[in-house]
Symmetry: C2
């Protein structure tokens, strides 16, 4: 971990292809510990990690994920049906990497499931006509800490949420309580390929000063 | 930024008291850039930052926040009404730090408002009986990057969400489009007091292996 904070955070990209090598227990513990350091509303820490390395468990969970991923691919291709062929090809190639991950989930060294107890979350946007997102404020900072800490160790991972579509079945496989939900599934491993660079909008497009400018 | 990634992430606590010193533009830009590096679903980056340093704007927004904070304090004290006096005193002391911040929001050097466009978010848990949280997966990783990057610069901040209760008024003050919502308000500045240590549950309490164990 000789890299600077800046080096780590500027190169933490989603990694979906891994070498089969196992993750040493001490390395994994440092990554999990970084997640625990994240903030949450009232410091209630309304979430837990279920760290799955058992191949049978990964197979069962991967089988759910692969079905949801296929629907997601179909949804994206349908949305892009009127796009130029070049854009469609690029989209299809990007989605193929995800398909490969979905089909090989049982080969990923570790898949971390994040589960939470909604009863401990103070939601402030559930009165609005838009989708409520604020519950995630106590949950996803920990997932991001996990991803950047993985990167600091040379590992790679990707934040996925499709598995929430199959929450009841995930609960049955993982055995968490009825009141708890699943909000993220993060495969991690030693990357095939490199970390960074990141494709993001320029800072000037992402920032407004004092007031929104059109 | 000579500290290691580990030093930064293990000491990034919520900071609610700041010195009045301004934040140099280059430092602030590095912090904002780190937020932009966060992942989002399909890399759609469905969010923007409105960086408020204008005192009049901070006064207007702080006036909304202070009202919501007072309700939050009342809610917490009511919930703890049957707790031992010592626990109530500790809770009240903790909340007083937040009250001080709420009342002095206009003195905080910079307050970053995070806004988002729900139409760009693929939500996978809106069919469930529990509160939907998955929309936050494309939003709060960026907020956490901002907080850890601020810490790497020696700055402190805190993730707050109460302002979402007043979304319509916030939209009027900040001028963002009708389709956009506000999901976080993060005051940042040079801390009074120290970074870290963090009070969190032990790792063993936060992690299950392969299956939930009671």
């Amino acid at each position: 971990m000789s890299e600077s904070f800046h080096d780590v955070i500027s190169t933490t990209r989603s990694i979906r292809r891994y070498r089969p090598d196992p993750i040493p227990a001490d390395v994994l513990d440092r990554v999990l510990q970084a997640a625990v350091w994240a903030p949450s509303g009232g410091n209630r820490q309304p979430w837990r990690m279920i760290v799955v390395s058992d191949t049978d468990q990964k197979r069962k969970l991967g089988a759910l994920y692969v079905e949801e991923w296929a629907k997601y691919v179909a949804y994206n291709m349908e949305n892009a049906k009127n796009a130029p062929q070049e854009a469609r090809d690029k989209l299809a190639a990007g989605l193929a990497v995800g398909t490969n991950l979905a089909e090989k989930m049982h080969e990923v060294p570790v898949v971390v499931f994040f589960v939470h107890d909604s009863r401990l979350i103070y939601v402030t946007d559930d009165h609005l006509p838009r989708t409520s997102v604020v519950g995630g404020a106590s949950l996803y900072p920990a997932v991001q800490n996990l991803l950047t800490a993985a990167r600091a160790e040379g590992l790679g991972g990707v934040l996925t949420t499709l598995i929430a579509r199959r929450e009841d079945e995930v609960r049955e496989i993982l055995g968490f309580p009825a009141e708890w939900g699943v909000h993220a599934m993060v495969p991690i491993g030693w990357p095939q390929g490199r970390h960074g660079p990141l494709a993001r909008l320029p800072l000037a497009k992402m920032v407004h000063h004092d007031r929104w400018q059109d």
